[in-house]
Symmetry: D2
Subunit: 275 residues, 4 copies
């Protein structure tokens, strides 16, 4: 059991009435419990929380009039990951994948896995399937991509990133997801908070489907799998932006803090699932 | 009520044991009823039918040993579309979209709507929102794209197609979906069978979310909306290929026939929903 | 005869010894004469001027030690364009193009004309060849692209720009060049200075090969063809950046001014060539 | 001195009067001499030979009426490459490159070197500059790309090929050229004939500018540098197609044969230049 305190604050200037969806609230899963949680909108604006799609994460919805507002979210989240022996986590054959998992084998906007079969075949020819393959991919991404803000933008997909060999957390995750899917392993994007992320911000990582469950990986290597708090899950980052809106507005400030100091001194070693 | 007979036959040569997923069976929805249905695999191979993901379509799964086999599917399908007055179908504001629909606003592998905001803003500046916008998009696609086999391949997305102004049914649908999403209208891909498709083959079209329901459009103009039989629904064609497999195999033959002659002489005019 | 005064100033911070190539000097052609010209580098650094490639423009080369320096260029340039009757400017058939012009029919990094045959065929189906076609293209670009800084970057090609329908002068020129080449008209990029460019900066435009000569067009519509001073000519902007360097340096300041007030009150109407 | 016999035959069906440019004739350079040469067009059609652009290769031009024709070219070519000690071939610093070479540092249609700086920096971090870097690149391409016809088409650039890790000779050359340019080494495409190419066809390779001269490399490893006959030279394959035409025609047959059996038993080892 790990208790992690997360906080995020977003401030906007609104120029015309705008509708916002925020994806900043910690998800509730069998292995992630939200103990205390507060949402503050200043000035007070009516808002609601809705469950979004099969990923099941929560969206905070509000309509904002012209002017400024800020949204402050804070939560204490307990993550109780199941930690498994990696050696057991074999790859589920294509013909035995559960139907609800199949979509995560398909290419998506930022994870064009169909373009990377050749790359995977060449680069990971010697690596096994299952957990070994996913670990090899995640490690390769962490080692071969430089973490550099500003080298990618909202149109950068995994193919672009793989060539320029640089990006931020979302790009690291996108490349790893593409390489997993091209290896026959269903993989999906997880947005969240991470202990130890530097500079601290909303984080992006991924999980892969192995032996009947979803296992977490952070290819940036910044957060231990047990220090990851899930906000939302999707095909790729297109499904889980921290905010989206229609109208006219500008982000003035974004601050994120994550405190996992009450967690265990050393996270357990092994494959970690919080799905 | 329209009764449509559909048949499809696929033959494969299998070089090494392979797992197949076929997406050829007519879907079952509130407004599409499968009256008679037969699946034949020759030689007989054990197979099963599973429900796939939120789209809910049925996948036919089988494992094939080396050799040849063919899959023959036939069904009589009754489609009982709800036909509505287009004038009523207004665009649902972003802040009021049901959560299960939100994902269909996001860009996907073949529908990179995020790259087309400028195009939409310029090309459809004068067109209204809601049904009028979707109809304008579908008509524009039908008029400005040439239907030419061989101009696109499995890597062609809507941006490519929009530049080369040519493609096949799946490309027409992808462009229309992208333009809808960039217009703020959720849109998704539908694979199926279509009365009057020439040359007859598996068909691809799309539906847009308007006023609380999904409405069908065929931008190729080949099939009336009431002559469309749904197989599956997805973000784009990546989610609904008629067949996918892992192993080593080659498609030897594909035949599709669709007979809607028992339908009404003139399909009703209006916006059509079979979701 | 038009006399135009141009000035440009660039300031750099150099962090490690760096080699620079500057493309800021007005070109010398049969119809463009450089009357007075000064180059100042502060602090004084040895520099040389070289003629670059078939385009023939002049490069200013220097090596800079760590520290800061600025380069100030000023010139009085007389342009004496040949002005021809557009009606005479027919398209040169493929089989009669001079060999030195053929390369300007080929696709290049930012002008992927091979991807735009379909677009050209559909969009300009009704327009004639020759000057009429090029004028229609240049006007269409000016009308259908928004001039917005920051929407494109150094990786944006004409296909991207054509979809997002926005860019700056170089993007306008790239789209027009691609559409000309896809129409069978050789076209090339010209970097330079332009009277009336707003905000004033280095400018990019293009010329098309018609009836045996190169004719100037500015699809942004900001400068009259007689108010354009040529710096360099190339396949696209990749060939004529105002500066390139190897080493480690950062641009601190860039200022451009262009004064054409001593020119004639009204530029002559017609097709303009200064090649 | 190596004597190489080359033959090529192309047959076309012409549906409407068409203008052709053929790039099949062996180039004439200081180190490549065309001893005997014949061009036959059946039925006889007037044709001319023109020198094309700075690359200087020869284009064969003809106009064909509807019907069929074939072009048969045969030549005996003596290549007398200068063979140099690779150890001497250092990289020419950016600030000392001759002006006519600078364009070959720029990205081009199929060699988007600007997108590969990150890849080069990571993949070749340990390799030296100069000949060592170019050799490392050429070898890496030969080892990491699969030679598979049909995996690429006329729109495939080096970035696509680098991801799918497969292509044909032109793709191998494009990737190598891009990686050289991104390493600061000018590189250009050479079309030609190659002894030992399998299956025999027109060939594509590249040359890099080192220590004041252009040195040949064939990343496919199929032909020794001394078994390469140059047809044309360009930025990339866009500049040197074996045939291009305007009109309406279809290629019916293409046959190439190359016989280098009269050459020396063992080609000399070393860096080879025929520029």
């Amino acid at each position: 059991m790990h208790s992690i305190d997360v906080r995020s604050e977003l401030a906007y200037r609104v120029d015309a009435p705008s509708s916002f969806h925020f994806s900043v609230m910690a998800d509730r899963t069998a292995r992630q419990t939200v103990r205390h949680e507060s949402v503050r909108v200043v000035p007070e604006l009516p808002h609601e929380t809705i469950d979004a799609g099969p990923g099941g994460h929560r969206l905070l919805r509000l309509k904002a009039p012209p002017g400024e507002f800020r949204l402050a979210y804070a939560a204490t989240v307990e993550v109780d990951p199941r930690v498994d022996d990696p050696a057991r986590l074999s790859q589920v054959p294509f013909g035995e994948l559960p139907s609800e998992v199949l979509g995560y084998l398909n290419p998506s906007r930022y994870c064009e896995s169909d373009r990377l079969f050749g790359f995977v075949g060449r680069q990971f020819a010697g690596s096994p399937g299952g957990y070994g393959r996913v670990k090899a991919i995640s490690d390769w991404v962490g080692k071969n991509l430089a973490y550099v803000a500003g080298t990618t933008d909202v149109s950068s997909g995994s193919a672009d990133v793989l060539l320029q060999r640089a990006g931020v957390c979302r790009d690291f995750a996108h490349v790893a997801i593409s390489l997993c899917r091209a290896s026959g392993v269903p993989a999906r994007y997880v947005s969240g908070y991470g202990v130890g992320v530097e500079p601290q911000d909303f984080h992006g990582f991924f999980e892969a489907f192995l032996d009947g469950d979803w296992y977490l990986f952070d290819p940036t290597g910044m957060a231990p799998a047990t220090g990851l708090v899930r906000i939302g899950t999707g095909r790729d980052a297109a499904d889980t932006p921290f905010a989206s809106f229609v109208g006219s507005a500008a982000l003035l400030r974004k601050q994120v803090s994550v405190d996992g100091s009450r967690g265990p001194a050393a996270p357990p070693t092994g494959a970690t699932s919080t799905a």
